[in-house]
Subunit: 258 residues, 2 copies
DNA sequence: TCAATCAGGGTTGTATGATAACACGACAAG
DNA sequence: CTTGTCGTGTTATCATACAACCCTGATTGA
């Protein structure tokens, strides 16, 4: 509760600043689970805002499961596991290792998603992937349309698992990865990259189309390694999360609908 | 915008009801991305609440990335990919296939997390796992303390990957799995289950301790298959997400090897 | 003594009105 | 056609008031 908000800072809403400020107090342990927050009035005066703004901030934290409040008593910090939403604040996203870690997590998900998609994909899923691929072919590399279709392809692969949470999680992680790339700001593009990336996508699609789970995850692993190197990351990390290292244990998974 | 809130309903906050109501409008497609929401005043009158309540609801939706607003213009529905937080509402959680899908996602994460943990774990990570295991041994099966230490063990494994997002995601998914179990309400417990579960954990720990990535993921796969059957799910589902999909191996494992 | 009741202050939940900041179109002046 | 101004509508914020509720402690009654 030390931060005094500066009115000159007129970027985000005041309630956002208050919320992230309280959030930081919790994350850094100055407010522990079970602790009672200062009263809304007290928060309003310490932050130099109206009680209304404080209430909007608290409503936000409450919806995230970070705090809970009871009329007549006050607001209290909730247990960490009570968090009902998963959020990565921009501050964390900017840390140097954030990109690497997020990329690793995404690789973990995506390599297995590709394998599962190969065994479960429907014809409609294939069509969605091909449409996204066409969208990438027509857009310039790195453009908004390109990125949109790139994400759309990966989303289509995830949806082919017939598990809606796969797509939800993958898109979330992928968006965070993209943001952390922007935060780092180190990216160069070339026509060669476009061709390479498209080829990687095509190989993924071919494997999924053929119902080849092993081939799909392998193609995805290669794609992620390539993507890693394209944004200046040693490609070995994506592979560490891939099942390729357990290849002896795996068998070719029988395809379903041909 | 058809719902008229009933004041008699005094469970959650009014802002929560308004937020979920608008949220539903978006989810069901009656409000599409780019659409402008009614003015705060209009929402207030249609919902029969004060403008203050509407603002708290909007603050919440804005923090979730579902809408964005600009002073002097209005509030607009954001693109689906703009979601800055990952949230699974209780309504979705109650659906019959939710548990199965979440369990599959968790398995995907956890099996690879186990392998990665085996190659990266520090001594402190091992200590944390052993502490959680001790906590499980002393608590009655299914008790709050037991569940807490169970989650603690899996969290310790995830933290052993030295990637903070692993634990963050795993805990989030695990909590949703637990909630969906509670929503389904089908669980029976026995002392035998406690012993079996503990044994599964011990084998995971042993493999991680030995730095055996292959063994760790295999042990985790077995554990998840066992956990699935304990909550009345065909164990094959967890296996579908694991890289050790191998029916012969599974047969050999059945009946507590090692 | 002990238990029940009640009054009071403090806190959150909600309502209401007002003002500032901003966006946008209409409209007149050049 | 361009530009500047103004009026209107909307969000962002402030300030105040009241209702609902919790907690505590005093009062009361047995």
């Amino acid at each position: 509760m030390t931060l005094k908000l500066d009115k000159v800072n007129r970027g985000p809403h005041l309630s956002t600043l208050v919320a992230s400020s309280i959030s930081r107090e919790i994350a850094q342990g100055r407010l522990k689970p079970g602790d009672q927050l200062p009263t809304e009035q007290a928060l309003a005066t310490t932050f130099g805002v109206s009680r209304n703004v404080v209430r909007e901030a608290i409503a936000r934290l409450r919806s995230e499961g970070r705090i809970w409040s009871q009329q007549g008593r006050g607001a209290f910090v909730a247990d960490a596991t009570n968090a009902t939403v998963l959020t990565i604040d921009y501050e964390t996203l900017q840390r140097a290792d954030s990109f690497r870690n997020l990329f690793e997590l995404r690789g973990m998900l995506e390599v297995q998603i590709a394998a599962l998609a190969a065994t479960r994909r429907s014809d409609a899923d294939i069509v969605a992937m091909e449409q996204a691929l066409d969208g990438m072919r027509m857009a310039p590399y790195g453009s908004v349309a390109w990125l949109k279709n790139d994400l759309g392809f990966h989303r289509a692969v995830a949806d082919a698992t017939q598990n809606p949470y796969m797509g939800q999680f993958l898109v979330f992680v992928s968006e965070r990865v993209r943001e952390s790339i922007l935060a780092a700001g180190n990216q160069q593009k070339s026509d060669d990259m476009a061709r390479t990336t498209l080829g990687e996508h095509e190989r993924i699609l071919a494997a999924i189309k053929a119902g080849d789970a092993k081939g799909a995850s392998a193609a995805m692993t290669r794609h992620l390694a390539g993507a890693a190197s394209r944004v200046g990351l040693p490609g070995g990390d994506a592979e560490a999360a891939s099942p390729t290292r357990h290849s002896r244990l795996r068998k070719a998974v029988r395809g379903r609908a041909g």
